[in-house]
Symmetry: C4
Subunit: 278 residues, 4 copies
């Protein structure tokens, strides 16, 4: 058992070794290049080479994951990190042999997602992604409001325009896609001119939609800016903490006053006793 702990310690030291980390980043970069190269038309020999390299990368990833797992003192903690679970799924799924055309396709996608391991291995990217994810719930209600606007406009759009162009306004799902297109300003006038031939006032539909979504979008951006500034201020305040607060100063001045008043009192007494003395 003690021997096992020794091995674990050794794995832990390997894991936190800088060279080991760089080597893994290198292999992930290499796997990204392999993924890229595969998208080109390649001669037969190259393909065999690439599948060999693929097997090698899978092996390295498996080893790396094992080392990291072995190096973890408490095995249960390992699966508490979402990144470790993600890594494990990617690596284990790569091990499943894929021969049929259907599965081969899934296998290729899995190998592409190995590039995402770059995020799980580089701490700065992990922090950045976490901060991005943290910003999401803030946007929750704005997104919901925006979706309600989209949904109502899509319902109105498919009710009014379905007979004009079913490809764009056939049902509510297609209408939602068309409205998203309008929001990105992508050939939105073509969509509008088509319906304006039938309903001359339909420009009000498009313009009001653009104003509402642009306004909501603007609000979203501003919302993030403000929340970020707020955080900034909070950090600043924390940094300014060692400074005494105004109220602390006030208390000290007040205690001074008490002292002086007391002193004044005793002095008066002493003066009076002096007077009594005379």
């Amino acid at each position: 058992m003690l021997q096992f702990a020794k091995i674990q310690k050794r794995f832990e030291s390997v894991r936190s070794n800088k060279a080991f980390e760089l080597f893994v980043v290198g292999v992930i970069l290499f796997s990204a290049i392999v993924v890229g190269v595969k998208t080109y038309d390649l001669p037969e020999g190259m393909l065999t080479l690439l599948s060999g390299l693929d097997a090698f990368i899978t092996l390295v990833f498996l080893l790396e994951l094992s080392i990291r797992f072995m190096g973890e003192e408490n095995k249960r903690h390992f699966f508490k990190s979402a990144w470790n679970i993600f890594d494990t799924i990617i690596v284990v799924a790569s091990l499943i042999p894929v021969d049929e055309s259907e599965m081969a396709f899934v296998g290729r996608l899995l190998r592409i997602f190995r590039v995402l391991r770059m995020v799980s291995i580089i701490p700065e990217l992990r922090i950045l992604l976490n901060s991005l994810l943290k910003a999401l719930p803030q946007l929750g209600y704005v997104m919901l409001l925006m979706f309600i606007i989209f949904y109502i406009y899509a319902a109105v759009g498919s009710t009014l325009f379905a007979h004009i162009n079913p490809d764009l306004w056939g049902d509510i799902a297609i209408s939602l896609l068309t409205l998203f297109r309008v929001m990105t300003f992508e050939d939105w006038t073509d969509v509008m001119y088509e319906t304006m031939d039938v309903y001359g006032l339909s420009w009000t539909y498009y313009l009001s939609f653009i104003f509402l979504t642009a306004f909501a979008f603007l609000n979203m951006v501003i919302g993030i800016v403000v929340s970020v500034i707020e955080k900034e201020n909070a950090i600043e305040d924390a940094a300014a903490h060692p400074e005494p607060s105004m109220s602390e100063l006030q208390k000290e001045i007040q205690s001074l006053k008490v002292l002086i008043v007391e002193m004044n009192h005793t002095q008066n007494q002493s003066k009076q006793s002096n007077k009594g003395n005379e």
Copy 2:
């Protein structure tokens, strides 16, 4: 009369019941789905089912509105809230039987607007919308300035380019729409190249317009950012209110000074009386 108050209290408790609220949100969501499903081509049986569901939703909304109205202690207060008026209009209008094709269309639109009740029922969305509406007047003058720019360019555009392409520059209304299209950069070069064939320098018209509107738009965005930051600061200041102000501190220090000066004075007097004593 007392019995009536009792019933009102009971309705009030139903109204503020969490389960009741969730049930209403559920029905609104369900009505949204019904609205969505209706945009697809449906078999006859499905349509009968949907109109039945519609009647059911209308009934639930009517009941919910009644409960909320009954639960209101002061009946006049109920119609002071714009949201309550909106809800009432939506629900009452749904009750009107619509058979003719013309009215059927209006009825469908009304049923779509029932999705908006989501905003009136979820407090967070109501707050968000209110804050959006509050931001509107701030933008008032920028919007007016932007409209003046649009109007002048549209007048110039329809004066100069009407004979080139009446579909885009025929009159001032069409020109305004064309300029809005140019502002969204939607195929604006097509519009420009067409007029440049006749007036070689007409690119100045488009470029100056883009610069002016982009600049005004930028200013609008910045304006909102600043007003939001201002509000932030105001809230911060309010939170910092318990802290004494600098001038309060100053007053306390000054009162201290007065005390000491007085003390000094009495001491000097006592010293002199002592001297006189000798």
Copy 3:
């Protein structure tokens, strides 16, 4: 002479009369509508009516300008305001009779610019425009840098691509326009794909250009945001002026100390004299 001053005072009171101001705003609005109506195809009778209205508007503007000029105590001050000069030019130019087709066109443009008087008459718009103009010089150097980038890319573009499509890259002026189009993302891929058929690597030209201009543009936006925040802070500081500064507080505390030290000193002396007494 005294009589003249009396008249001037009366004009001054007319000028600052709220009803008078509203009347002028109304006439400007009306002139804007006349400008708009003129862009439509109108029957002969309507045209005569409109030219009559035009003459009436010109008359009102002339009267209003005269009143404002008369109401000015110091006549020289009147032409110190750029807005007054603008108003005078617009009004005087409207007086010149235009009959020939060439001049008629200029006359129509002049009547359109009368709408701009809305800005000169509404103080809030005037303030807004002034603040926009004040922001311009701040952007000066960023604009210059952006123009240098544009110029260099346009020179390279017309050197490389002139033989591919002279309509887009014929000379440096056309190239600048094409690059502005690329910056607005308007069908920029069509422009790129065309040159990529000849020079396979020309996508580097477009992508680097987009990155540079987007980056410069971003910097411009941020620049304005910062300058606006700076101004905000300056105003806040000014508002906070009545509050005593930290250093003022410090001085008061120090003067307190001097007082106490002195007091201590006299007390010690009095004690010693007391002791000497014994």
Copy 4:
């Protein structure tokens, strides 16, 4: 040797002469115009004139560089500035005679880059560019994250859609370009509708991509805003430095207290000694 130092001083004074600087800016502006004029179709005589002007500009630049080099007290310092190196390369490269068609083209490009000397000669532009470059590393990790997103989507895109349209999705490089096009919203629906004919759900691919990149882009903008505000605050704090800090005030108040306590103590003693006296 002393004579040499004298000459150097004279060059130094020439170099910092305002008129000399303006003259150089004028020549650069002139060279920019020559570059622009060359992009037009010109008669033979004009071309000879232009090549003469070119030689003249090269000569002026050579002289100016020599004066600046001579004016530098420590010759090694001259090449420590990246701008001086840039200037030297541009000027020296202009001296190489270019006759063959291949080299003539490179020569033309070099002459275009002479416009960039505007940045190296105007200090404000140099400062602006430096500040832009300083902002780049801040964006480093966001750019890396964005590239990873692009790369994964490009790999998936070329795996799924290569057989639909090889011109857009042929290999990973073309797919990256297509995705950049989608990010700029340039005819992105055309790209989407094409793949949706084969894979009905491929809109998820495009929408998720747009959301991810828009979100990352937004984050980048906000990131710069925040870092700029931070800098602002740092500058403000530095400006506020002369003001005493809260803790300094606190110390002074505390020293006051000590004084008063001491005083109180001596007074009590004196009183007691007085009492003892009696």
